[in-house]
Amino acid sequence: MSALISISHLTKTYKREKQEITVLNDVSIDIEQGDFVALMGPSGSGKTTLLNIIAGIDRPTQGEVMIAGTNIGVLTETELAKWRSRHIGFIFQFYNLIPVLTAFENVELPLMLTPLSKSERRRQVELALSVVGLSDRMDHYPRQLSGGQEQRVAIARAIASDPDIFVADEPTGDLDRVSAEEILTLLERLNKEFGKTIVMVTHDPSAANRARIIHHLEKGDLIPQGQS
């Protein structure tokens, strides 16, 4: 069976003024359906760039990125946007909720891109918020929630459209220990109970230990470390 995410000979370079900087250097990696993968490494190692390329919000300079049978490197911006809305759920370090929208409305955002009816959307949003344990905070605005609750709303937003893959960039980086544990437990549940594939970038070894596979990156090179 082929991997859900298959990256081969991926290179990413940036031009800063006249200098060319290689951020990812001939990286190849396969991630199976249902994996929970942690990407670790020091700052500037290229882990976030790799995550962004997997999520389809950045493009490779060279190499091929096949996700669920689609070579996303050849998609146009509009095709890529549609592809992301169907396949990717984003969890950001700083939650990135829209401050003028309630928890309910924030979770509903990605569903506006689907052909679901209003009542179907409502059901989906209520389900997503109940999964993250925030059914009683639907009408709260982000400013009325704690950091941990905001991140749970962000997770609800990511799961609302039922994507195949979750990409999480330092999801616990801005949270206290207790909240971080709650978020990691939630991610574990998504992986184990719902079979979702998760790719998570983290600096935190205890967060990485919740993943089933840990990959290390250093100066743009991928160094396999082992399995948990």
Partner: protein, 386 residues
């Protein structure tokens, strides 16, 4: 949640800022509308003029009269269908502050030359048969509470003495841009009095109004009329009614030109106010646009969000401005000396111009934020810290 709800929620995110912007746009729309209304009022005589009416006046100055005997000669020129005449009377009604145009006329021909003044057939026949009769515009009748049968007492200045006129008709204008303030009485009434009091001023008229069959021949007929009286004691200057009215307006041409330019500068100010708001707003939301793009929202969605927000603000400002314009113009008119502008109304074109300008401004104000949002890379947007 609908796209519209999201647009409105975003538009009112910074309540004070957006309210100040809306107030700014409203004030600018009111100022634009006021200036356009003043320009319209100034030009109302030109706008209401008919292309098939020629005005024949004394070549030296409008204030000098022309002989009544010219009437037959002018009527004999091919292409002329009707000749009428008017005579500025002046005078004081109640007191010197009460101004409206008062002119002696030929009742037989006046209404065929000015079909824009509407009277009933009874009023017309009553006006024609009584030599001391007069007709007044409905605005003047309303202003002084005049009704049919009322006597208007006047003290003459150009034509000294006490004068009495009986109101036999109250005309209504055909359109809002026609002057509804004038008073017309029998020129013959004036002429008879002059024959008695000052015979040197008898059988003279202020100016002729000539109806022609074909407006395209106005230049040729004007030339023929003037040629007819060349080297006479009272040479004539003939021009279309529009040119005649323009002559009055052109003396204030520089002021009107400046007002016109100012009215369009105000559109520029609206644009700058809204552009400033939209650019600040979009800069603050760089990260949010990146998030929306990452969630799968396309350029079309961002266009709808940003342009929708700019249009919401600009159209709200325009709507409030237009709603305020009506009472403000009415209030302004009440401060003006009565009769200063016979026609002081907000033209439909002013509403359309104000509304469409706000619409265009809304679209233009969205261009820079939209360009930035569309060209921004998601990864750069997510890293944006303001």
């Amino acid at each position: 949640m609908s796209m519209t709800k999201l647009i409105v929620k975003n538009a009112f995110r910074h309540t004070l800022r957006v309210l100040l912007t809306i107030v700014g746009i409203s004030v600018a729309v009111v100022a634009f509308g006021m200036l356009r209304t003043v320009v319209t009022a100034w030009n109302s005589g030109v706008a209401a003029s008919s292309p098939n009416r020629l005005i024949v006046r004394q070549a030296v100055s409008f204030i000098f009269p022309l002989p009544y005997a010219y009437k037959e000669k002018i009527a004999g020129i091919p292409g002329v269908s009707t000749v009428s005449w008017l005579n500025w009377f002046g005078g004081t009604y109640i007191d010197k502050d009460q101004f409206f145009a008062r002119q002696g006329c030929d009742p037989e021909t006046l209404l065929s030359l000015y079909p824009e003044y509407k009277l009933t057939s009874n009023e017309i026949s009553a006006f024609k048969t009584d030599r001391s009769a007069c007709i007044v515009g409905i605005e003047t009748a309303k202003r002084y509470g005049l009704k049919i049968g009322d006597i208007m007492n006047m003290e003459g200045d150009i034509y000294p003495g006490s004068w009495q006129f009986t109101v036999k008709g109250i005309y209504t204008p055909r359109s809002k841009t026609d002057d509804a303030t004038q008073m017309f009485f029998h020129w013959e009434y004036l002429n008879e009095r002059m024959k008695q009091d000052d015979p040197t001023r008898a059988d003279q008229v202020g100016y002729y109004v000539v109806k022609i069959n074909d407006p395209s021949r106005s230049a040729e007929i004007s030339q023929k009329i003037d040629q007819l009286f060349k080297n006479s004691a009272a040479e004539t200057k003939t021009e279309t009614e529009g040119q005649f009215q323009q002559g009055f307006v052109s003396s204030s041409g520089a002021i009107i030109g400046a007002i016109n330019i100012m009215s369009y500068l105000i559109i520029g100010i609206i644009l700058l106010v809204l552009c400033n708001t939209m650019i600040m707003t979009s800069r603050e939301r760089t990260r949010e646009y990146a998030v929306l793009k990452s969630l799968g929202f396309t350029g079309g969605h961002l266009f709808a969000f940003i342009a929708g927000e700019a249009l919401t603000i600009s159209m709200l400002g325009a709507g409030i401005g237009i709603a305020l314009l009506i009472p403000i113009v009415q209030g302004f008119e009440s401060f003006l000396p009565r009769g200063w502008f016979p026609v002081f109304i907000i033209e439909t074109s002013t509403y359309i111009l104000a509304g469409s300008s706000a619409l265009i401004v809304g679209v233009i104000a969205a261009i820079i934020p939209l360009y930035r949002a569309l060209t921004m890379k998601i990864v750069d947007g997510l890293r944006f810290t303001g």
